[in-house]
Structure formats: C-alpha cells, structure tokens
Amino acid sequence: MAEIPSILPATPEIFLACSALALLLLGVFKGDCATRLVSHLAAAALLVAAILVLSHSGARVFAFNGMFVVDGFGVFMKTLVLIGAAAVVMVGQGYAAQQRMNRFELPVLIVLSTVGMMMMISANDLMALYMGLETQSLALYVLAAFRRDTQTSTEAGLKYFVLGALSSGLLLFGASLIYGFTGTTNFDRIVAVLASAPKAEIGIVVGMVFMIAGLAFKVAAVPFHMWAPDVYEGSPTPVTAFFAAAPKVAAVALLLRVLIDPFGGLTDQWRQIITFMAVVSMVLGAVGAIQQTNIKRLLAYGSIGHVGYIFLGLAAGSEQGVRGILIYLAVYLVMTVGTFAVVLSMRHQGRPVENIAHFAGLSRTHPMMALVMALFMFSMAGIPPLAGFFGKFYVFLAAIEGHLYGLAVIGVLTSVIAAFYYLRIVKLMYFDETPVESIDQQNDGAVTVVLVGCGVFTALFFFFPVPIMSGAASAAASLFAG
Amino acid sequence: MASFWTFVWPLIVIVAAIVAIIIPVLIGVAYLTYAERKVMSAMQRRQGPALVGPLGLLQPVADGLKLFGKEMVIPSGANPGVFLFAPFLTFVLSLVAWAVMPFGAHLVLSNINVGILYLYAISSLGVYGTIMAGWASNSRYAFLGGLRSAAQMVSYEVSMGLIMVTVLLCTGSFNLSEIVLAQQTVWFAVPLFPMFVIFFISILAETNRAPFDLPEGEAELVGGFFTEYSCMNFALFMLGEYSNMILMSAIAVVLFLGGWLPPLNFGPFAPIVNLVPGPIWFALKIAFVLFFFIWMRAAFPRYRYDQLMRLGWKIFLPFTLLWVIVTASALEIFGWLPAVVP
C-alpha cells in the first residue's frame, strides 16, 4: 500500500480551490444578488492565498510524489498571478454590475482559473503541467464567452476555445513524444535522461518544439498570436484585463520552467526558436498596433510586443535573462492592471466605450485619470525613470551579456516604434480638443485604489526597486538551482 | 491433427454453450410476452389470449408466424442501411450481454474480471439501436421517439452506474460471480434497499418500459421510434426489447437478490432449499422481477417528459451520489470493507 503523498506544500492551491467551491455554493444559494459579496470574498481569498504562498520559505520542496514543486521561482510567480487576479476581480466588479453581466460565476471562474495557473507554475511533471493548463484554459474559454448574448463575446469565446484546443493538442503531442523517448513524464527524471545521453534524440527535440508551439499559443507569441486581438476585443473588458494580466504571467512562468528545468540541457536547440519568435513578436507587436483604433485591440498588440521582449530575455538562457523576465513581468502586470482600470472606467453616458478617440481632451475633463494613464503609457513605452524602463533595461542587459547584440538592437528599435502609439494616446489626452462625447465621471472606490496603487508603483519604482529586484534575483537563482 | 482438434474443440464447446444460453432466452422472451398479456388481463379482469392452443399457450408462436408473413416496408427517404441495421443491433446487443451472466456456481460462459462493467457497457450501447432507428426512418414521430429515448437512457444510466458503484464497494470486485458470492450472508437488497428500489425504477427507464415508455408513447408519437417498422424488423425490435427486460432483471438479481443463491439458506431450511439447483433459483428470481415490470405497466400512467428528466437528474442522481458516500463511510467506519487482493 503506497503512502498518502505529502500535500502541505500545496496549501495555497488547496485553500483557493476550497474557497472557490465555497463561493460557488454561496452564489448558488444566494443567487445573482450576492455577486458583489462573492466578488469581494473572491478577492480576499486570492489575497489570503498570496499570503499563504509568501509564507513559504522558498526552499525547493515537492508534493504529490514529485508532481508538484514549490520553490522561490514558484513563490514569486504565484504572488504576481494572485495579486493580478485579485486586482482584476476588484476592478471588474463595478463594470460587470453595470453592464448586465452581474453573475456570481464570474469571480468564481476567475478564482478557479487562478488555481489552474498556480498548478501550472508548480508543475513538475508533464501530466501535472497539462492538468494545470487545462484547468486554467477551460475557465478562460468560458470567461471569454461570458456575455453570451453579444456576438463579439461568443465569437471571442469560440475562437479562443478552438485555437486553444488546437494548441493543447500540439502540446500533448509534444509531451507524448517526450514521454516516448525518455520513458518518463517527471521533469527531474527527464533531466537525468537527457544528461545520461551523449546527444539529444531527435524525437525529444521534435517533442520539445511541439510543446513550445503549444505554450507560445497560450502566451500569444507570433506566429501563434492570431487569436489575441480578436479575443481581447470581443471579451468583456474585465475578462480582457484578466487575460492580459494573470494567464500571461502564468504561461510565461510555465514556459520558463519547462525550458530551463527539464530542457535546460537543450538550450542551444530551443534558443533558435525563441529568438525567432522574439523578433517577429516584437516587430508585429509594434507595427500591428499602429493602425488600431480600439484600445483593447491596441493593448492586445502591445501585449504581443511585450511577449517579444520577454522572449528576448529568455533567448539569453541565463540567470540574468530570467531575472530580467521576472522584473519585466512584475512591472508589466502592474502597468496592465492599471491601464485596464482606466479602460474599465471609460464610459459615455453609462455605456462603455473602447475607441481611443474618446481619450481626446481627457486631461481637461478628468485630469487625475489622464495623469495616471499618461504614466502607464510612458511606462509601457519604456521611458525612464518609470517602471517600464527597468523591465526592458534588464532584459536588454541580459541579451547583451548573452552576446545577442542583433536581437537587442531590434528590441530597442521596436520599442521606439511602439513608443509612437503609446505616446499618441498621451497626445490625444493632453493636446487634442475635447469632443462633444466626453467620458463620464466614475466613482468606484476599488478602481481608485487600484489606479492609485499601480500609478504609485509605476512612478516610484525607481526609488524602491529592491524588493522586486532581490525577489526576482533569488527566484531566478532558485529556478536554475533546481 | 491433434493440434487441429485442440484448436477446434474449444470452439465447438463455446458455440454449444452460446446456443444453450440463447435458446432458453429466446423461449423466455416468447413466453414473457404471453405472461405479460396474461398477467395484465388478470389485473384488468379480462381473460387475455386464450384461443390459440390450450390456455392460449401457442399465442407467441402464432404472433411470430404472423410477423414473418408480413410485407417488409422501407419508407421512401429512409436511410436503408441504417434502417435495417438498427433492429439487428438492438437484438444482438440484448443477447451478447448474456455471455458474462453467472447462471450458477462456475456456470458462466465467460468469467471475465470486469463483468459488471461489460454489462454496463453493453446496456449503454443499446441506445444506438433506438436512435438510429429514429433517425433512419425519416419520420418525425420516429425521430422524436429516438431523441427522447437517447436522452432518457443516457440520463438513467448515470444513476445506474452510481448504484453499481455502491454494490461494488460492498464486494470489491467487478466479477459477477464474486458479486453473487459476496451475498452469501445477506442479499444486498436488504442493506441497500433504497438502491434496489432506484435500480429497479432505473431499469424500467433503461428498457423504455411503462411508466417510462415515452420513446414509443402511442398517444403522442404513434409508435415512437418503431413507427415505420414492420415484419421481421419489428419482430427483432420486440425481441430485443423483451430480451433486454430479462437481461436487466437478471442484472438486478445478480446485484441485489443473490444471483443463483437459494433464499432462506440457513438453519432447518438450508437442506430443503439446496435441493433446487442454482440456475432454477436464478430463473425464478428473474421471473419475480419481471412480474414487477408487468405490474408497473398495469398500475401506473405514463410520465410526462419533464417529470422523467426531473426524476432522473434531480432526485435519483443526488440521492444515489449521497448513498455512495454513506455506504463508503459506513464500510470504512465499521471496518466492513471487503478484503481485496493486493
């Protein structure tokens, strides 16, 4: 009789899953009038889970027979995901209540999806990886189609589902090849098998390529990005905010874990693919966004570009690179949540507007909101001394240290192009005439808190970079130590 | 030559065994229709079939011959392949399930490890005969009947599966003979009585019998999925339906009424009841369950469709799920879990 495996390291996940079930019960018994309560409780549960995650010592421990690993890297990433998810739940609640999607399943699905993301981050086995990924994705498919009565939302859900299922298929195919050639699904054993063979088998490499393709789908890296603009545009805005924040972080974390941990020995093989995807993502992210008039589409292309920069750091394949990525992700998460908080408050006569023309003259009607938006836009463009600059800086630094000079140059050039459309929004807000259709005044406490928090972080990161920097450094070190 | 015979001899034995099972089942089917008419007529103060042969005993034969003599009609616009295959499938499926049925101690054609799962799988395939017939007939009545039956059978299979799980928890084996032998001290119908009742109701729904005979509800759908069938095809459907009834009763007997084990098998009764061989007890118990089938038909009006779904999903499913938990907890707490090979 085998022993019951140790489950203590998974306490945050178990807590979050149980609280999702409790919230579901609460919602089912109380009906949709309890949505507000469920949302607040969901945010609280996410924050409590973040505290539980942070209470971990950071040592590398396993649970469930080595399928689940908790280490410094996992702690850092899970904290990001949980904070991002909690912020989105808080910000999105008011919007959802106004736009007739006031249903208690929304926060519950977000919490369940977050559980999936934490499972992804902690995966130490191909099967655990897939389970986490599906838990996350399935909830996201539903979230994308949450406004089932509108055509755009159902289209977004369907598109995301079909393409997501395809990418899962690719991933599984790759995983099965890897299992076939190494005889194991456990990451540590894969490392051992790779180390024992003089040269990597072609089957393992092919399997790895399929897995990278599947994961690149989830992070929307070019050439697997085509779903992103449509899904970002079609989904309800709170859901889009969630898409841009948490799953992106989790998928990047998973990609890092897979490429550095089991396939660390194959760095030379995967570097070519990552480099290629980094270049095309950066270019397409910058060029594609230029003609967009919808703010959500624009941010979708922006996020494709951000993935390009993240891959730039990954292509370096070094501890510096991973540290840069972690800083980048932390900064990206805050900027994205902040930007979406602004987008969520954009209403015209009570109806949400998404056209960037509506930003015109915002500085005169709502000076504070225009100020934080400008802050985020400058930061996304990478203007020093804002937070976004440091994210890019460390990634580029790692690329240069890894002698990827060409890649770094392309990165700098594309950030200049990208600066164009970010700064265009600033120009609209500060230098254009106020149109007749101005944006309404919004007074949502949660949105204000999140906006102020994100704005302060973005502006003052320069003065207090140490917690994030040292956290990222130790997280990157723990990933490479494993 | 010897090797040839070692190869062929088991084949002959198996074929003989199959024939030995199928022939009694088919005779049983024929006389089940007779019994149904007789019992119902008795319940309704009528005489029932009484003209063909003594006491009308040859009535099933006459019915069969009549059906043979009819013209085979394939409706225009029907899908001939599927149309002809559907009754055949229903009939064959109702017979292949008997392969794993234990008629007595060691008296079983194929004593496989997962006998109960095999039965469950075969019974879940049964829905295809109905749904294919409904679709291929190119008739609205038949189509509606097919859809109803598909939804109904899938719904009730869920709770049937959970009921089987409770029984399996008590036996620790999928093997049907072991399930029967686990009931030597007490038949499962006693400790799991609520499950037995729900199982009985579920098999009524699973075999599309009254009061759940909506797929063929004459009042609204003419004849349901076999509206368009005639002649031998119709006969095959009827044979399949009745043989399914016998099969389901047999499953109920194996799971809850101790299979071939004699009743009252203790104290002074033991020598007496053991005089009767196991297979006879088995047949008697099946007949007992079948009587309930007929009784239900005579006693209850047909359910409405939403009531049927409500019963399946909102009452049986939660209840059986709860009972699985209760059974598992009871077994764990009192230490009654069956000993299982490592």
């Binding site: 649970a63 | 679709w135 090979v341």
Partner: protein
C-alpha cells in the same frame, strides 16, 4: 496466438476503414456512426492488450455517453458537408504542405527510435503482473495514491466544465410554468374543494 493475431488484424483493419469514413462520409450522421465504430474497435484492441478495464470504460464513456450526445446534436443540425468543403481546394496547397512537413518529421523521428538505456530502469509506474493483480485493482492502487493529484485536478476541470456549461446555456425564462411537486403533494382537500349547502332552487 494465431487467433489473437487474426483478431488484431481484423479489428485494426476495420478500425482504420471506419476512421477514414469518419472524415470522408458524405452524411454527417454516418460519420458519427463510423466514429462510434472506431471507439468500439479501439476498445476491442484494448481487450487484446489485456487492458479490460480501460476497454470497458472507453465503451461506457465514449460510446455510451459522449458519442450519443454528439449524434444527438448532429442529427438535429442540418449540416451540409458539401458546403463545409467549399474552401477545401483553396486551402489544400497550404494544408497539404503543413501535413507533408509533419509526416516527414514523424518519419524522421520514427527512424531514430531508440530507447535510452536508463529508461527501462526507472518506469514511472511499474506494471504488476496481470495474473496476480487484475488491472482494475492495479489502476486503483496508483490512481488514488501516486496520481492522486492528477485525479483531483481532473475533478476540478470537470467542475469548471460544468459551471461553464451552466453559465453559457442556462436561461431563466419568464412565463414558464414549472411543476412544483411539493406544492402538488402538499395540497389539501380544504384548499381545493369547498362543500356548500345549496338550497333547492337557490343556485350557488
């Protein structure tokens, strides 16, 4: 041995034919029926491998439930496959190229197939001899211990799927008369029937 081989090749051949029919049948219902046949024969192959539990589960879950619902939907929708195939020729060159690349890759992979020597020492889950432990017992032993995490995670996924289905499809429509069994059963004679003494010729 001969019998097993014979059965194996028969099953495999029919399986291949029916899986081709799944994608080539003109009638969508025929395609689904071919899919059912494919599942069924796949279960047959599992039995030949001695994995009887998996075989039965495949039949129960895929054939008995999933494919039935699939058939249900396909029958009710009026799908014209001819219409779906209209873009076929247009996309054939690109699709064909991608398919070709995949085939070449797979062939390359197959040609290099060797088992790394250390693999066989460390199987993830050693298979107990089938004459000692039935494979349902063997599966049960690792499913609830070693793979407990995955088992629970699958449960979570199914829960999400269920919530999703309800979120996307459940509507509370007005003007629907629902049956309340409790109200029906709880009805008393006094609620429904009133006994009155009617005077002759007086009317009610």
């Amino acid at each position: 041995m001969i019998v097993e081989n014979l059965v194996f090749y028969t099953f495999s051949a029919i399986l291949l034919v029916s899986s081709i029919m799944v994608i080539s049948a003109r009638n969508p219902v025929h395609a689904v029926l071919a899919l059912v046949a494919t599942f069924f024969l796949g279960a047959g192959l599992f039995v030949l491998l001695g994995a009887e539990f998996l075989a039965m589960t495949l039949v129960i879950v895929y054939v008995g439930a999933v494919a039935v619902l699939f058939l249900f939907v396909v029958m009710m929708l009026d799908i014209s496959f001819a219409e779906l195939r209209q873009g076929f020729l247009r996309y054939l060159p690109v699709g064909g190229l991608v398919g070709l690349v995949l085939v070449v890759e797979l062939v390359l992979v197959e040609l290099h197939w060797t088992v790394t020597p250390k693999v066989l020492d460390k199987p993830a889950a050693p298979i107990p001899p089938s004459d000692q432990v039935s494979n349902s017992h063997a599966l049960g032993h690792i499913l609830y211990t070693q793979y407990f995490y995955l088992f629970q995670a699958s449960g979570l996924i199914l829960l999400i799927a269920m919530i999703g289905a309800i979120v996307l499809s459940l509507r509370s429509r007005a003007h629907v008369r629902r049956q309340s069994v409790a109200a029906q059963v709880g009805r008393q004679t006094a609620d429904a029937v009133a006994v009155r003494q009617v005077s002759t010729g007086g009317g009610v």
